[in-house]
Symmetry: D2
Subunit: 427 residues, 4 copies
């Protein structure tokens, strides 16, 4: 399913007048704050967030799943879906694959298809939280942390295979979300499990290509409900530090205990050179995997504000960060949800770029909490939608990606093409 250049141009012409009104107002506002309009637009245009292959079909809960028609049934169709998103917003030019759900059969053909859609391959993801048919050892009681060395070996080999697939496609990173843990007090020797996990990671790390990085994800609970082997940023940081420079922590916004100050974690990891990437989503209770920015948009802005809080060079901490969405769309059309998520992320980025950093530094120097709050809110309350629209129009994307997606009735077209009962591989 592709969108033609003309369809986008036609759409953009229709919104031209109201767009330019909002824009000039904002331009003036930025001039006053001595923030370069062009530089911000450029930064927004450059920003790309990877789409995870598993988010393209309807998600579900343990209580059930309500399928959505036209889901991508193959890796090729998943790339097409990401290509569709990218043609609409020009900000989704990457896909993050999950092995074994997305093993490419013909690597060259897949690469060519991705190139056609202007899509690159972001971090690849391993899976040792499910058993696959024909698998020798079960991960029921863990994988990289398992008590049995044979299971650990199998899990290590799987991770190396994932890297191997990723290398063929041009990926430069592996994300390891280790779902290992325990459900009951006493079940696991915490110290031994941690040591075994470190040894397993070390084995993978040492066999990783020299230009790759390893992203160590953390999560406090689910699918294990008493403990997880890597429950928090501290444990991820500890492991990444011991592993070496190319191991970093990955922050999934939904993987925190209630009330956690996530923006501070991002700041600390940046300070230590260990912030490797994000899995974006939003949540109210646990790992709810809701649309990014749909529940607490101010928190998302504060996270980006931290990332931009100190001057940063071209190969500084910011450049080290992998940007990925990790959401699950139980009741929305996944493609609409992803368009909303990308928009939510870029909204927060745009707002953070509007923060008057010199004034903020002064307020902090004077311990003027009132003024510091005003400065952040001034940026956050600014309506940056015309800015995002402008960055899209300049890149040939749609002024209103979601609007155009609906106007063109893309989901109907996908259902026509793939059928009502197609089911995305994955969860």
């Amino acid at each position: 399913m592709r969108i033609q250049k003309e369809q986008i141009e036609d759409h953009n012409r229709k919104t031209a007048k109201s767009h330019s009104d909002g824009l000039s107002n904002l331009h003036r506002h930025m001039d006053q704050k001595k923030i370069s309009f062009e530089a911000v637009v450029q930064r927004l245009s450059d920003f790309q967030v990877a789409i995870p292959s598993w988010s393209l079909g309807a998600g579900g809960t343990r209580f059930g799943r309500f399928p959505m028609g036209g889901e991508p049934g193959s890796l090729e169709q998943k790339i097409e879906d990401v290509g569709l998103l990218h043609s609409l917003n020009r900000s989704s030019g990457a896909i993050s694959l999950h092995i074994p759900w997305d093993i490419p059969e013909n690597t060259d053909a897949i690469k060519a298809l991705a190139r056609e859609h202007d899509i690159v391959f972001d971090a690849v993801n391993s899976n040792t939280f499910q058993d696959q048919p024909g698998q020798k050892h079960s991960y029921k009681f863990g994988s990289l942390s398992h008590t049995d060395a044979d299971v650990r070996e199998q899990a290590i080999a799987h991770n190396l295979e994932v890297i191997h697939h990723g290398e063929a496609l041009g990926s430069k990173a592996i994300t390891i979300w280790l779902a290992d843990g325990s459900n009951f007090p006493g079940q696991q020797n915490f110290r031994q499990a941690l040591r075994r996990t470190f040894e397993s990671l070390e084995s993978i790390y040492s066999q990783m290509p020299a230009d790759w990085k390893m992203l160590v994800e953390y999560k406090p609970f689910e699918p294990n409900f008493y403990s997880m082997v890597v429950p928090d940023w501290g444990t991820s940081f500890l492991l990444a530090t011991k592993l070496g420079d190319r191991a970093k922590s990955l922050v999934d916004l939904g993987h925190h205990l209630p009330n956690t100050n996530i923006e501070q974690i991002a700041a600390i990891l940046m300070n230590e050179g260990k912030l490797g990437g994000f899995h974006f989503n939003d949540s109210k209770y646990g790992d709810d995997d809701l649309t990014t920015g749909s529940i607490n948009p101010y928190q998302l802005f504060l996270i980006f504000n931290e990332l931009l809080d100190e001057p940063d060079g071209p190969s500084g901490p910011w450049s080290q960060i992998s940007w990925m969405i990790d959401a699950s769309h139980n009741i929305k059309d996944p493609l609409e949800d992803l368009l909303q998520s990308v928009e939510g992320i870029k909204t927060a980025l745009a707002q953070a770029l509007l923060v008057d950093r010199a004034a903020l530094q002064d307020a902090r120097g004077a311990n003027d909490a009132v003024m510091a709050q005003q400065i952040l809110e001034d940026a956050f309350r600014t309506d940056v939608r015309s800015l995002l629209r402008e960055s899209r129009i300049q890149k040939g994307a749609a002024a209103d990606p979601l609007g155009l997606y609906r106007a063109l009735e893309m989901r109907k077209a996908l259902i026509r093409e793939r059928g009502r009962d197609s089911v995305a591989t994955g969860l």
Copy 2:
């Protein structure tokens, strides 16, 4: 799979000596506190907790499921499993069915089978959180609260059908866990959804047999992650109050926000005559559905302590309570887990029965928090295992149900009988 009376008697003989030692010690202790040993044993013997039909197979999370061999593949086999548990502990003499997972094809045969195992039918459960094959309307966006009257009608009809099945089997209550809610701000008009829900419940209530009660369950989140239509005890209480005397609130221990004082909720509902029943389990983070008492046994004791906190007649609040387990056993043998859960529940009950209520009343009258704490801890720290053992032996159950289940290698026998790949109907 049945256990012979002789197997139990043989097992009990082996533990007789050490049992009687522990028992006499405890007997003496209770005499000192003027608590009748016989009355407590009787109360423990009488106590029965219903086993939910869906807990007899391996559970799972949205990330996967690790099957366990020998799962019951039919309603008959589920009753046999509960019968097995009941023969071991004489405290699981009831089963709670879930429709449509457990629709009896031949009611008379099912009743006869249950009778054979000395099992009665506790509250029946409806399911409008999943779509069933051939169902006319989808519950993707709700059921009893749905915006569309046709969907609501379908859900009402389903609940009436559940009651109909239950009536045939001798149940006297329906548990309605309404999974309706919303995932995103704005999605639902809260007030209208509540009003529609009340109307739907009212329709069911008015068609319920005169000797039935309706148990209105509440849950703050999952499977919806922004709001649930019945999120807390307050909403359940509000609905139950408007519905009438035979509508009550059901407290599932895992359905609370972090840090909730659940024992106080139980006390308030008891005070208002609205405590209808429990779904027992334990949790550390959310609705983790872990073995009852495995995470916070003191909280479980405090709940039972509230239930016994005021004198209560034969048809008083206590007699109105339905006792059910609602757990999910991702990595344990479900039957072992259920034996542990029942034991956890009865342990808490036994401890609560040992509380010196006269002394507690005095301490409270004097606002002596130190002594009140001592009195509760004195009961909680007492080793009541010989008491539980005694109540079992007197009823012809196994002194050590889990030990005997293992010694007899029951799971192996079930796998032999039903196969390694049998899968329980349900989630």
Copy 3:
């Protein structure tokens, strides 16, 4: 300390040009959505939020307090401070008194002073969480719920005295925040404490003037750390329902367990005719009493969105709501903080007034979660600051209240007048 009309006019002239630019843009946007600009401005102008007398001095924690100079040392000075705020924003035309901290010595003089500042007296607050010098019975172990009838009588008498003071000043409501509870399991008989509390409230309710309302506040913890007698909205609702029509629940935003969906509570209470008022503040962890809107502004918007979610007549649920701030300013100048809080509240109200309700109703009817989210975000992302400014300018308030407060160096003036060491009565 007073601000002259000319100072405000002079200040407003300076911002006139940039203000009108932003405004015309917004006006156009509202016309497109068929939302009356004038009606929204009027609604914003009419909205008044009461300032609590205890928020005018520096707050503190149990670990210490860092005083701020120029604090109001008398009720007269407190009224002057609220008058100062009101002259700046024309939205703080009410004060909420706390007895015994603010007992008026000369009622007529106080009323005259308030009239001069265009200030009315909102709900009065009782205090039975502290002991006062010379008090006969201690509230160490509770007040309205105390085991001892004499203590309860004393607490009832205090509440009646508070009503008496409020009546003399023209208040029409009493807010009862009952801090009673327990710190240890066992300390309190929950059921008896609830019954005693109801009886005490009933006694107060029955002696309240016929045109008064009683606001029953709830709080899950602090100052008691195991249980509170009125821990949640359900208990408050239960009490208010039994008391009668003029008893309502009061929602303090900081008085909820982690992850609570507060906007849904507001909706349910509105639906039942039991939403009596708000205590506005913001929080990240517990009852942090931070500036309203400073931590989660989207949540605040969602609350106002619920309040406006259904058509409402002139004496409908909205008109029954008392609007109050309840914050504590440990490190900010309290007057600056209150200006920010009022602005945060009015921002949320303005955004909620911009929601396209017809479109929202359509989206909900179609269960279109994507569009419902878009509609709310469209309102929330709109920069409403020019709207707030306009409503202020039309009423003779300052275009930028905080800016003018700082430009006029009001805190310095207050310190000059009252001294560096003046301490506000209260906590």
Copy 4:
């Protein structure tokens, strides 16, 4: 106020018979599990937990304080109170001082007094969360992390002075609870604050005596309500690792976000050689500072279980841990509360010593979660009170410390001696 040896002996004689009954039962049980009765009693006898000087008076909340008569008004009286506790339980042979609340005027006299009571000086505590009269710079906006170098210097100097006092008394550690943080987004540059904190700590660390250790405490919130500079174990670990071998993390049980798995944190820190000590208390909501073991005794047991989970030599991780209580007693007699806390801690230790470690290792090796749970519960459900009694009797302490304290009416005696209005120095 001292207790005579004869009073204790007399008291112990009275309980001798029932004590020996319970004991023999337990002895038999331990023999069966091949756990040495004598070794466990010895370990319990050796265990000493330090009493913090600030816990000897009535605590309070920001809402008020209800004083308790007979509070210690001087350092001498505080030592006497700890001596009183120690004479009763022989497990409180250490005091943890807080500077500036407890500056000794005559070091030699204080040491002599402590020696008389058989009390040693545990870790000393600095205080930069309050301003002291005459202090040059305010800590309103931080201390070791302050933006102003002069404030940081003052805070460093204070910490060095604390060490100096501690050295004179024989302490070997300083606990640094850094209350610095921010209340509002934007107020603080997280990265700079962390770097400044590290530099300040480094300065203190480098000037610390060679045989001292530094305990870096962490806390997620309070007294700052948006962020704390050292919010979690990860940040504490990061700082302690950079500082050097003698810097360790201190775990205060109440300083965690909801649902945190504290026992796992203890295990991880032990594994890394960075567990420096505990502040014991219990909590249901936040830093509630309740009696240790009064809310969740199973969690306390699980923590001790982790500490004993691996074989440990005489100078292993266990030997590095400082044991301290940090509680606040708003409504209890502080001395009674401390007796209960020590008992709660030793109960958990005793239970953990009863865990059948060989069986547990086997169960874990077999991934037998059911059996692992049984093994822990077997230890936890054992009534260890006779064991604690025995260890006390052998050391000349009271069989029932709280009972004897009450029987001797010690609080009355303290009030007689010190007056009803004496107030403990401190919070």
